[in-house]
């Protein structure tokens, strides 16, 4: 990867995150000072948040390790603006399909960042629009029909993007048999989820699936089942 761009995009991302953290703590600090509503003590904050911290610290960290390999440089905006699974990951997948680029390549990383930045701007503007139109929109968007439909956002999403994942594309290579790496992890998740519901542990499950998929890929490649062909060679052939 271009070292200058890599340093610059990560520096921008890190500064962006630091300012985001300052805002997240600064706004409560200003409100607490102006209205004199500071928490009684740090212990009160820790006590009230201990349950959340116990759940969310490992979950959030697992998400970073699970999704950053897919998101690349767009991870900074993604984690600052949230909605990783229902918005940003599909946007990354879609952006790479639209531009014929692959995950893990420099080109794939650049288009993923473009897609996620655009998506975050659109979402921010739509939420702002929702705030402005709170009164007229509330009856429509809180109707039982709309509320029921939105609870099925994730199955609709995964049914929609599933086919995008079943391909032999691997950056500069065509990896014939690549979808075979999905079989074992899929069976494991099906099996484990049947006896031990995995809901709420998605970040960890993604991480375990990554390890399993890589192991399957290495075994299938060494066994000669997955065959890698450089794209240039393939074109000439």
């Amino acid at each position: 990867m271009d070292k200058k761009y890599e340093d610059s995009i990560h520096r921008t991302g890190r500064i962006g995150i630091i300012i985001g953290i300052i805002l997240m703590l600064g706004i409560p600090a200003v409100i607490s000072s102006v209205y004199d509503v500071w928490p009684e003590s740090a212990a009160q904050v820790i006590t009230a948040g201990s349950g959340l911290l116990a759940v969310f610290i490992p979950t959030c960290i697992a998400e970073v390790f699970s999704y950053t390999p897919i998101l690349g440089s767009s991870a900074y905006i993604t984690f600052l603006t949230g909605n990783v699974m229902n918005l940003k990951v599909p946007v990354v997948v879609n952006a790479q399909i639209m531009s014929d680029t692959a995950s893990g390549t420099e080109e794939g990383d650049a288009v993923a960042t473009i897609g996620v930045a655009v998506s975050s701007i659109v979402t921010t503007l739509i939420i702002a629009g929702g705030v402005l139109l709170l009164v007229p929109l509330r009856p429509i968007l809180t109707s039982p029909t709309v509320q029921t439909a939105t609870t099925y956002l994730l199955p609709a999403l995964f049914g929609g993007i599933f086919l995008s994942f079943v391909n032999n594309d691997c950056g500069d290579y065509v990896a014939k048999g690549k979808p075979l790496t999905m079989i074992l992890p899929l069976l494991v998740v099906f099996g484990v989820n049947a006896v031990f519901p995995l809901a709420g542990m998605e970040g960890f499950v993604v991480l375990i699936c990554m390890v399993l998929t890589v192991l399957c890929a290495v075994v299938l490649y060494k066994a000669g089942i997955i065959k890698m062909t450089p794209k240039e060679k393939k074109k000439k052939a």
């Binding site: 890599e6 995009i9 921008t12 985001g20 953290i21 805002l23 997240m24 703590l25 706004i27 607490s32 209205y35 509503v37 009684e40 006590t47 009230a48 948040g49 959340l52 969310f56 959030c60 390999p69 897919i70 905006i77 603006t81 918005l87 946007v91 952006a95 639209m98 080109e107 650049a110 288009v111 473009i114 897609g115 930045a117 739509i126 939420i127 702002a128 705030v131 709170l134 929109l137 509330r138 439909a149 939105t150 609870t151 099925y152 199955p155 609709a156 049914g159 929609g160 993007i161 599933f162 086919l163 691997c170 290579y173 989820n193 993604v206 375990i208 399993l212 998929t213 890589v214 290495v218």
Partner: protein
Amino acid sequence: MTFNEIMNSPLLYGLVGLGIAYIILFCLITLKKAYKHALELGITREKLKLVITSSAIYSVVPSISIVIGLFSLASVLGVPWSWFRLSVVGSVTYELMAADMVATGTGYESVAALNAAGDASVVGTVMFVMSICIMGGLIAILLFGKRIQMGLTKARSKHGELGALITGVLSLAIIEAFLPMQLMKGKVHLAVVFTSCIIVLIHLQIIKRFKCLWLRNFVMANTLLLGMASSLVWIRILG
């Protein structure tokens, strides 16, 4: 002042407005850098236009579901703080859970009970706890983001075609983790997944047969919308 008055105060609106403006600015700066770099890498403007329009169109439907969440959150936490929390890091589920845990931690039955009681003294605690408890991901990306990406780039270049294969299969983990969980949630979930799959196939056939490339921009958005709408039919059929 009561809890509700502070949580809907003009000052909080102003601060949140600044925060939102910052988020947009940060996105624009990153977008500019990535766009310039994509052109340097030889990706055509046409392809980038396609990426931008399809990302924007796709984002509309999930964003509307966030607005629906805003309505439920705003009724207990006020409009501006809910607006900020849903624009920065948070999700409706987390925010409601966090607010509720703070309320019970400070002696109330729920966040709705806290709101109804109007106890302004816990405003600071609610806001700080909601912010601090979701920061794990931000701190982790700050510390490890560059290292993770550099490690992958190194693996890809060092191990040749095997490196390309290893980094190329990582994204499959998303489908492997989430698809079985969605399929196993019930008959309606299963039907919605298959409906969405079929909708994508229909789109791809239309694009191929009638060469209407413009439709590629709408595949994801249409699939999401029609897939979600199909749930209403499936509920009636499957119960």
